[in-house]
């Protein structure tokens, strides 16, 4: 489906929404606003070539790209990191905590990659065990109890595929993390800030507003993994990426994300402060739009949004 077709589809959704009285006043106007913005962003976003898509893949994985803690440092005041899943471990591949975002208390969860070799190993390359997801779930439950909005930053090649991770229930844990986010009645804004790899990414991205940085990627499988299965050759990753289009513009086109967060020229790695400012601005914009909605309406709309995803004949 081309961008034009997609735009047409969005326009159709828009006109359908306009004629719909189901959703009630405030909600409807918010949904309209959101779609209108999507249309504007879509019209502005160029359709990327295969080469440009691959550039996003490389930038999303750039070793100098800012990670969750780099944003926490710049966006959150009075930060208190919370540790542990209360049952087995404190997984360093996840950062969770509470702090103040533009004057309001929020809970924040996010994958954390390491900068140097030692920290990379310590953070397990941002690939969390089930214990990490349980830590994130615990922090989200704390947010629910105290009515704090949840911010989720996604940056992982995927959930960790180790023997212990399987034995401790990686699959079921990801399912329950999705389910918890479908149940929360506090506002949730998520943003993919690097790699949004598979179920390990979507498990903390089930949000009222899903953002994606300009050069982030969101994928059902890594390009290498896809190539290895479909072409029997992991070296065909670039070809795979061009085929399944994990870039932000395409995700917006497909209705998977709500907006694209701009990055500093050449990528977020070039200016952490500017990247953080741009990210904070986008989150603030989305959060302000939804934070006064009643929790039950928020949850109903969140589920309805995901329920509508997919294209079939």
């Amino acid at each position: 489906m081309s961008a034009d077709d997609q735009l047409l589809r969005l326009r159709e959704r828009l006109s359908k929404l306009r004629s719909l009285s189901l959703l009630g006043g405030a909600t409807l106007s918010n949904d309209l606003k959101r779609l209108q913005k999507q249309i504007e962003q879509l019209e502005a976003a160029p359709t990327l070539t295969g080469e440009e898509i691959w550039q996003s893949v490389e930038l999303a994985r750039h070793e100098a790209r800012p990670y969750t803690l780099d944003y926490v440092e710049r966006m959150i005041e009075d930060w208190i990191e919370l540790h542990g899943d209360r049952s087995r471990a404190d997984d360093p591949a996840f950062i969770t905590g509470v702090g103040r975002f533009n004057g309001r208390t929020v809970a924040l969860v996010g994958h954390q990659k390491g900068r140097d070799i030692k920290e990379r190993k310590y953070r397990n390359f941002g690939m969390a065990h089930p214990e990490g997801y349980r830590k994130a779930m615990r922090t989200m439950q704390l947010a629910e109890r105290h009515r704090f909005p949840v911010l989720a930053l996604i940056d992982t090649p995927g959930a960790w595929p180790g023997v212990a991770a399987e034995q401790h229930g990686q699959g079921g844990t990801l399912a329950r993390s999705h389910a918890l986010m479908a149940r929360l009645t506090v506002p949730i804004v998520s943003c993919i800030i690097g790699e949004g790899g598979s179920g390990g990414a979507s498990a903390i991205a089930l949000a009222d507003r899903v953002l994606m940085q300009e050069h982030a990627i969101y994928t059902v499988i890594s390009p290498e993994g896809c190539a290895a299965i479909l072409w029997r050759d992991a070296g065909q990753a670039q070809k795979a990426a061009a085929a399944f289009k994990p870039d932000a513009a395409h995700c917006l086109e497909l209705g998977v994300i709500d907006a694209i967060v701009p990055e500093p020229l050449g990528g977020a790695q070039n200016d952490y402060d500017e990247a953080a400012q741009l990210l904070a601005d986008s989150i603030e914009h989305e959060l302000a739009e939804i934070e006064d909605e009643p929790g039950s309406a928020l949850r109903r709309q969140r589920r309805a949004k995901f329920r509508a995803m997919g294209l079939y004949a």
């Binding site: 034995q167 990801l174 389910a179 969101y218 994928t219 499988i221 479909l230 399944f244 497909l254 079939y312």
Partner: protein, 283 residues
Amino acid sequence: MTESGVDVSIERKDESRPEEGGRRDPNTCPSCRSHYRDDELRAALRVCPHCGHHFPMPARERIDSLADPDTFEEESADLRSADPLDFFDLRPYRERLAEAELETGLGEAIVIGSALLDGHPCELSVMDFAFMGGSMGSAVGEKFVRACESAAERSVPLISVTASGGARMQEGILSLMQLPKTVCAVEDMHDAGGALFSVMAHPTTAGVLASFASLGDVIVAEPGALLAFTGRRVVQQTTREKLPDDFGLAESNLRFGHIDGIVHRPELRPFLARLLRLFSHER
């Protein structure tokens, strides 16, 4: 046994690889090497009469084995996959879909509908591994969601039988979105007071394990079924860890607390009937 369209490669410890260039006979037991005619196997619910090995079970046969005669009414039978990315790997996605339909006689990797089971009304959602590795794309997700909605509307439990290699890569990110989509549907159904009974057949992996299949109020598996987020080969390649012999198998999952039990196929119908009696709203 690698299938196009699955993001986990399915292997079984107790299965030897097919000979070079050849294809293993689907009616030869990989466990004890007994060979059966298809009607023999079918009559035995595709459980090896000699050693108890559970062969894959086509969706239609599964439904016949569970629903009371002539009570199954299929829903959304006409729903088909689209090709949102114009996906082309070694062959076009559309061609693969057409071929799968031809081979299996199914429109997609899932069949849903209403039925009676031992007289109890319920909704059935049954996956078929033979259709592109039971992979979950937009059509599979949509049909599962409709099964949830149909169950909630009629206030009956939903019985889900899964057999899936995971998300359907050819639909890219939209296939990943079937995880949150199906989970949201289960939550809506739960909020409406509904129940989900999840039966995991071989294999239930990756995206399906990481979404609705794991959210059953009661979860059981068939003997020897692989239930893993990641398959043996990827685990080995990524982590270089030594894998236990029963890695990811139903038996290991039971020991580690992830499922409520292992139910042999001939016992499945009475087991589900008991659950329906317990969870029905009549008193």
